[in-house]
């Protein structure tokens, strides 16, 4: 019993990356923000709310969600419009991680309400169910601890209080960071298992004869105007092979959960099948593709293993996926920011850079506190020069300063990439340089570092 409990604890609550959890939050919120208006625009709900009352067959999920209005109440067009706007707003807040858990809870509720309403007129479809469940799970997890406005606010407050760059607390691992991802993995596995078992239950091995898949592809290609489906349907051998792949993949997708090293194979196959199904049959299972982000950790680990093997260093980096351990191969390719540790503004800027630097491409060095390290990274740099402006040192030793350093940084940190082209527009560099010099010359500075003032 204790071994089972240990396995359960390890399987669901092993300390895992808060950053990965944040990535899942971002991808799922963005997915809902794109997919909901695309496949279920407000007009659908408004029209449905006005069809004859006899066609309204509320599913239990809708009854539960609208319980405050009475069991089985039918939502008005106004209520649905309001819910739609609130859901999208909550989605944006969840995406950026502002009051992340509360916004995710509103997103989960609104998303479930709207889909449950759409499916309360006698026609229920399959793509959205799993994501709807996982959104609720995310609302209960520490999704705002990283890559969020919440985290930024916390760190800026800490930077203000301590007078030093506030980095992520602890090692970035948390025992509650894994279970929502695992839940998504198992839900995917169960959904595919359900599909595979149904095919064998109703069709038996005959389902893999090729004729079956051809039949369905042709039927949907005609109904949904998919010429590619009609073309593909002329190749019986191809559809027979795809039938076998489909059954095997559906029946054994759970292997991806228990043997994480195989996840990439199942996920890539899944993306291929879902995209193929969309192109030939217009069945839009994009929610499933978005949900594959719950396999981020094992797929990234496999990718790193492959990359290291290709680089000739063998597969010696360990088999267990460590989601936050810095990649030792990246140490030589990191950039260095030399910032002023006596300047609160500089500390806040460095804190923001640290938060946004997801891939750990930048090393932040407070030259007032670590001059030896700073001069080692930038030989020839004097303390006076360092105090005049921020310096960015490239891995090959080249260095830029001031506005140009900031501009170069936007090309180094992926989260800042959207700014990079803007800062390269004509006229921006001279103006930016003047503004930088103006601010730098007038920036407030302390007389001593926060950790040494009391000495």
């Amino acid at each position: 019993m204790s071994r089972l409990a240990e396995w359960w604890d390890r399987h669901w609550f092993a300390p895992s990356s808060l950053r990965d959890l944040a990535v899942v939050r971002i991808v799922l919120a963005a997915g809902v923000l794109v997919l909901m208006p695309t496949f279920s625009p407000p007009s659908v709900h408004i029209e449905l709310s006005r069809v004859d009352e006899s066609l309204f067959l509320p599913i239990p999920a809708l009854k539960v969600l609208l319980l405050p209005l009475g069991w089985g109440a039918r939502p008005s067009a106004e209520l649905l419009s309001t819910a739609y706007v609130l859901t999208l707003a909550a989605g944006i807040l969840a995406l950026v991680g502002w009051y992340a858990r509360a916004s995710m809870a509103v997103l989960a509720l609104g998303n479930a309400l709207l889909i449950a309403h759409e499916y309360s007129y006698g026609e229920v479809h399959h793509p959205e169910g799993l994501v709807a469940i996982v959104l609720f799970a995310l609302a209960l997890a520490p999704i705002g601890a990283e890559l969020s406005v919440d985290a930024l606010r916390r760190r800026l407050a800490a930077a203000r209080a301590t007078g030093a760059v506030a980095r992520a607390p602890g090692d970035g691992l948390h025992p509650m960071a894994l279970w929502p991802l695992r839940l998504g993995q198992w839900l995917l596995a169960l959904a595919y298992l359900s599909a595979g078992i149904s095919k064998l239950w109703h069709g038996g091995p005959t389902w893999m004869n090729g004729t079956t898949l051809t039949y369905y592809v042709v039927y949907d290609a005609l109904a949904f105007d998919r010429p590619l489906g009609l073309w593909v349907a002329q190749f019986g051998w191809l559809l027979q092979a795809l039938s076998v792949v489909t059954i095997v993949w559906e029946l054994f997708f759970w292997v991806a959960v228990l043997l994480p090293r195989t996840a990439w194979l199942f996920v890539l196959t899944g993306i291929g099948l879902h995209v193929g199904i969309y192109l030939t049959q217009r069945a839009p299972f994009f929610h499933f593709i978005v949900l594959y982000i719950v396999f981020l950790d094992p797929i990234r680990a496999e990718w790193r293993r492959l990359r290291d093997r290709l680089r000739g260093r063998g597969a010696g980096l360990g088999t267990r996926v460590s989601t936050v351990a810095p990649d030792p191969t990246a140490a030589a390719s990191r950039w260095t920011v030399l910032y002023d540790g006596l300047c609160p503004l500089c500390i806040r800027t460095a804190t923001i850079v640290d938060l946004l630097d997801v891939g750990r491409r930048v090393v932040l060095v407070d030259f007032e506190g670590s001059w030896a390290l700073a001069s080692a990274r930038a030989p020839g740099l004097t303390p006076e020069q360092a105090r005049e402006a921020m310096h960015l040192v490239a891995p090959d030793g080249r260095r830029v300063r001031g506005f140009l350093a900031f501009r170069a940084l936007t090309a180094v940190v992926p989260a800042l990439w959207p700014l990079a082209p803007l800062l390269r527009l004509p006229g921006v560099a001279p103006a930016g340089d003047r503004i930088y010099r103006f601010v730098a010359a007038r920036r407030p500075r302390r007389h001593c570092r926060a950790d040494t003032c009391t000495i």
């Binding site: 669901w12 959205e128 279970w179 959904a191 078992i197 109703h202 042709v218």
Partner: protein, 161 residues
């Protein structure tokens, strides 16, 4: 105080049990959304299997004028409902018992009502045409089989323009 892990574990078990229950044979599948089964496309088909694909057309009063197809998207109706209406209005599927005369009339009236705002000027009738597709082991035999009319009825007077 109940530890967070215990509460979360109970929630995980609840969700997984609900999902497995929804998957089980005999349960009404999608009724328990977001927990549901996934039985789509599960019936096997043997070589020689075929189906009739129907479409709705507005027939002009003047035979010299072109016919106009009225797809589900144009009529603003869900695809599956549209397919059901077409099947019923044209006498049902080959592999199912024929619908009653009342059901056929109702389906034609529903299609007429849906088409009312979308038929082009000079239309007098609605017609359902069908194409028969056959799938063999080698794949789809003929991707463009000939179309044949299977049902035709006059538009209501107010729908004619």
């Amino acid at each position: 105080v109940i530890p967070a892990k215990t509460l979360v574990s109970a929630g995980i078990v609840g969700v997984l049990v609900a999902q497995v229950y929804a998957m089980a044979p005999g349960t009404s599948g999608s009724w328990y959304w977001p927990f549901m089964n996934y039985p789509m496309y599960s019936a096997a088909k043997l070589p020689g299997a075929g189906f009739s694909f129907r479409r709705l057309e507005a027939v002009p009063c003047d035979a010299a004028d072109p016919r106009v197809e009225l797809p589900a998207k144009t009529l603003g109706v869900q695809t599956f409902r549209f397919r059901n209406l077409l099947e019923t209005a044209s006498g049902g599927r080959r592999d199912a018992p024929p619908p009653s005369a009342e059901a056929i009339d109702e389906a034609r009236a529903a299609l007429g009502a849906l088409a009312r705002r979308h038929v082009p000027e000079g239309s007098c009738e609605l017609e359902i045409v069908s194409r028969d597709f056959v799938v063999e082991a080698a794949g789809l035999v003929d991707p463009t089989p000939p179309a044949r009319p299977v049902a035709r009825w006059p538009l209501e007077a107010e729908a004619r323009r």
